[in-house]
């Protein structure tokens, strides 16, 4: 019997497979497809303090092996989330991670403070890397100092373990990861989407109303694996890897590159039960390869 469990230190997961923020709704959308308790956990769509409208449509465009989105964090806000959604999630026996957003450092902290009072949240994933809310795709994760300040501020008020989610739109991912760790983040997750654009040549307009959006899906996997590898070798906290994972083989690339757990994003749209399939396939792969504990593979790539 293969042991799929993962111990992040601050959190034990049943399996290394989590569903990624923004691609799993509030979790409930996936209940018709399988028992969510099979998951290591899932990350709730990005949550601001107040409800948000998100960006104007069109918000999606498909590209070769990729998807660009400019959702812009449409969401219900903390109050409605805690009143209406969290109670439904509380019955689940899997890690519920909330993706915490903010217009500025204060708002991140306010969201964390508000959520502190509610049961059933396993960790916060600090989303300092969304390319879809500020002008030109800017975000705190593009700068080690801004990263440090934001993480620190949330860390000070938060009574829930903290994961920091990084942006790939940087020159030096390692310096940002180290800043997050230094500020007290207990894990690093990466990558968020890559800033991208597509043009409708017939209309001579950007395909997204927002002009720019974030690229996800198989197209970005090689960039994500590289960054996970770089970060995992530099930090001492666990790393959660993502970017284009569609299969157990993809997940294993990230695990071998140094990810203690992985998140599956865009693939959930194509096959709503893909996380379940990945978990089963990981188990089979491990059995066939004589691997007793999946976490023995973390960072095992030989160089």
């Amino acid at each position: 019997m293969v042991d799929l469990s993962v111990d992040l230190g601050f959190l034990k997961l049943k399996s290394p497979v989590l569903a990624a923020s923004g691609t799993f709704g509030y979790g409930l959308e996936f209940k018709p497809f399988y028992d969510l308790n099979a998951l290591g956990g899932f990350v709730i769509k990005g949550l601001y303090f107040s409800p948000r409208e998100g960006n104007k449509p069109p918000r999606l465009v498909e590209t070769p092996c990729g998807l660009i989105n400019s959702i812009g964090l449409q969401g219900v806000g903390v109050e409605k989330f805690c009143q209406e959604i969290l109670p439904q999630l509380a019955q689940l026996d899997t890690a519920i991670i909330v993706n915490v957003c903010g217009e500025d450092e204060d708002e991140y902290a306010r969201v964390a403070e508000y959520l502190n009072h509610y049961e059933g949240i396993s960790a916060f994933e600090l989303n300092i890397s969304c390319p879809n809310v500020r002008e030109g795709g800017r975000c705190p994760a593009q700068n080690p100092e801004a990263t440090y300040r934001t993480v620190k501020k949330v860390k000070e008020v938060s009574s829930v373990p903290l994961i920091t989610k990084l942006s790939p739109n940087v020159t030096d991912i390692v310096s940002v990861a180290l800043a997050a760790q230094e500020a007290g983040s207990q894990a690093i997750s990466l990558i968020n989407t890559i800033l991208a654009m597509a043009i409708d040549i017939e209309n001579r307009r950007p395909r997204l109303n927002n002009i720019f959006g974030g690229l996800s899906g198989p197209a970005i996997k090689p960039v994500a694996v590289r960054m996970v590898f770089q970060v995992a070798r530099a930090v001492s906290v666990p790393v959660i890897g993502m970017g284009g994972i569609f299969s157990a083989e993809d997940a294993l690339e990230f695990i071998m590159a140094g990810a203690s757990a992985v998140q599956v994003g865009t693939a959930n749209f194509v096959d709503p039960d893909v996380c379940l399939k990945i978990i089963n396939d990981l188990k089979n792969w491990a059995e066939q390869h004589g691997v007793e504990k999946i976490s023995n593979l973390v960072g095992c790539v030989k160089i």
């Binding site: 923004g22 918000r59 999606l60 465009v61 998807l67």
Partner: protein, 266 residues
Amino acid sequence: MLIDRQARIIEKKSWGNYYLFRIESPEIAGRAEPGQFLMIKVSNHLPPLLRRPISLHNAENGAVEIFFQVAGTGTRLLAEKEVGSTMDLLGPLGRGFTVEQKLKGQEVFCVGGGRGIAPLYFLARKLKKTGAKPVVFYGGRTKEDLPLTNKLKELGLEVMVSTDDGSAGFSGLVTALVGETLATRSPAFLYACGPEAMMENLAQLCQRKNLPAEFSLESIMGCGFGACFGCVRKIKRNGQPSYLKICQEGPVFGLEEIVWQEKENG
């Protein structure tokens, strides 16, 4: 809503760019309602990455039908599938058309433009069963765009066709045909599916005539079941207009709910 990964194509017809498949999928067929749709995996390889939304054109005897037009890579790959091969379907999805009992005995208009006719066949069948008297308006650019005319007539319905170039039926836009017809007849309800401009014009007509109506909207869809927030449009439902998910709260919306000017970016 469920996934049928082994839905088998049992019949295929085509007319130029238009295709009709009959696909064995008992569980989806058993739950399907007119106006709902499927998310179809058009290929086992990438790309395309995402499934494609296609309306339920019919559901009977354990099979569903789809009727579609080749619009790009995804629909082209779909069109290449042959009888006997299997498809991966997710559905039925979304909220369909409202068919109230009080329409019994009443005349109702179903207006389809081009591929927009797809869900109206299924709807007309249901309306007939309810005892309503559906009149189908079917518009296209030219007579090649109206391959379903006979199929609709075989349902025993009144079918009025229009072509922009006058090659069949009424010469002009289907909205003009509906407008003329409304001068002499007073249906109890109007249902429509087709190009955005057609539906917007019909909405104006309905408003002027105080005719209740429902429209099936389109949007680019990431998932089809509410997870991605990609498909939103501005909709007035319980108060202020806000971005609602077409895939979950629609694709069918009432006349008063839709904010047409919110076309944004072509």
